[in-house]
Amino acid sequence: MTSQESSVDPEQGVFVNSVCANCGGPAQYLCEACGQTGPRYCSATCQSDHWEKGHASVCASVPSGTESEEHDNERNSRALKRSSSKVYSRGNVAQLINLKQRRSTLTSNTSTTLINAPNSNDPSPAIDPVQADEFRFYMQQVYRIIKPVVLCIVLSVLWVKLSQAPSYFIGSSGPGTSGATGSSSDSSPISTSIYTAAILIGQIIVATVVIVFLFKYGFTKILVGFFMFVVLFPLGFMSYILISNIISSLSIPLDYITLIFALWNFSAVGLVSVFWKGPLLLQQAYLTVMSSLMAFSLTGLSSWTTWILLGLLAIWDLIAVLCPFGPLRILVESSKENQREIPALLYSVNAVWLMAAPKLSNQIQPTISSTSLQTHTDSSPSSFISSVNSVSTKTSAATTPSGEDIPLSENLGHNIYNRNIEVGVHNNTEVNNSSNSLHTNGNISENNELSDDEEEDERNGLKLGLGDFVFYSVLVAQAEFWNVNYRLVINDEQMPKHVPMGIYLPDNCPVIQEPISPFDENGNQLTLGDILHQVLPELFPSLLHSENTSASPVPVIHGIIPQLEIPIAHGHRKTF
């Protein structure tokens, strides 16, 4: 039994000793293999030094070392050592994350388990409390990402539904509804769609380049102003359009005074909460609503345009982020060099979010964890949580962490994210605020919402740029808009095979219900008069429906007397 510092009470799992075994400073980490009885470290470098100074011979992980350990679920620095290898297995990575969170969420087990001399590259065995804990953590993070995205999608679909309600009103069907008629007709050739999509992508590219330029050369005020405009646009203008659509569809009598007042309130508070300090929940809500508004506005395009736009957007994201000349990459690099923040639109939960590219998350985390290890200072656990993460634009001194060495160089393919995280990890400041350095995500919407890779000491989590919100919402809203069921039955261009018709006769006669084919054998369109003559020859004796004697029965449809010459095929349309 290795007992480096004997003043530890293993049963209570209390950190009696918190002095770094190497340098003597305050320490928050320990050697995993040795557990509570093992040495404490303040950083990976100290651990490496101590390992060489003699811990290697006494460490419980070494086969010749001890046979039983107190293995509780504390994070450790040994995993950091392992993470310096090229392969970042999840087992290694997650152990570094959320030291305090795990401590707070788990009771310390004092189960004695045998560690079977793992290699430096092997993760822990399959069913392991550590890994279970890690899975739990990831599930929580995933849930936290999915929740707002789903909410955004639901909102977008809601707007589409509301504004598609049949409008019986004078004036104002906004771009939302006009898109309906526009998209249903395939008369616009695909080339027009491509053209429109290309214009939109061009706008996005131009906006991105402008933002990068502004940021790189330090025009922060202009940048902030630009972003404010960018936020104000959906919040103000689009919600105005949406609300007037809804008002028209739902027959709400509302005056301009109240509407303008409400919009003013809505947008002003939105600006305040996004760009300045405010409750985190409010900021998240505003960002979600804003993304849903953006997505809703994009459904105003014809369907082909939207799909093409989405494809182009994905391609643009790849180019902008991964290529060396991509503006987003430049943005991130200049952010790191100049150690300045990008005033950006950030979706952050109280947990800090990594970039939510699932394939990257494994690779991102080791860098975060290691660098967080480097710069981890004394910080109290859960009081941080609701902390001023909401302050997305608060500047903080970004000191390049010393621990750039170990894993960062490894992730060659994703250097951009690595550097992001690096910059994100600042701070040896005691300010409760976690370091903020903002990085752009891959997906950038029209308004270039940027994702913020904010590194909080305690909580790492997944982070999502607003562009992702908009992207997925547009996908779903467009599908909803397209109204697949409707399309399956009827296309405006095509004639249905049958029009269901029900004839109600007065005096309690039984209802006559038949599906009527709108065409006769020769392919001519049948009119209402023809059908009525077929079905009710006694009432409508003559094929010559131009006769109009006063005694002839008159069909009434929804309170309207139609002309008998109307082709039946029109019966499927919403409007006659």
């Binding site: 019986y168 004078i170 007037s244 005056d255 301009y256 007042f261 508070v269 929940l281 009081s383």
Partner: protein, 98 residues
């Protein structure tokens, strides 16, 4: 939802004050946000009684605005038809069938 306990009390107070001042620009919703956000801080920290003052002002202001709004809206909705031309001009959409 309330601000982090680590934020210095002066900062909290200044935020509260700024929220109140900005809310004076016809922004009762901001006052509501102010109250909801800062309410637990009344008792918790020794920021002083000033924060209480601002929060009470905010909530009274918000209630006042609410009264004004509901009054105006109810007047408008009920009398919209009688007002005729004027009401049509300030309506966003005119429902068919009056």
């Amino acid at each position: 939802m309330p601000p982090s306990p680590k934020t210095p009390p002066q900062e909290i107070l200044s935020i509260c004050k700024k929220y109140f001042i900005i809310g004076c620009f016809f922004l009762p919703w901001l006052w509501v946000v102010n109250v909801v956000y800062m309410w637990p801080l009344i008792k918790r920290e020794d920021i002083g009684t000033q924060i209480k003052k601002y929060l009470y002002l905010s909530i009274f202001g918000a209630i006042l605005w609410l009264i004004i709004l509901t009054t105006w809206l109810s007047i408008f909705v009920t009398n919209r038809i009688e007002w005729g031309q004027f009401a049509d001009s300030i309506s966003v959409a005119i429902p068919k069938g009056v």
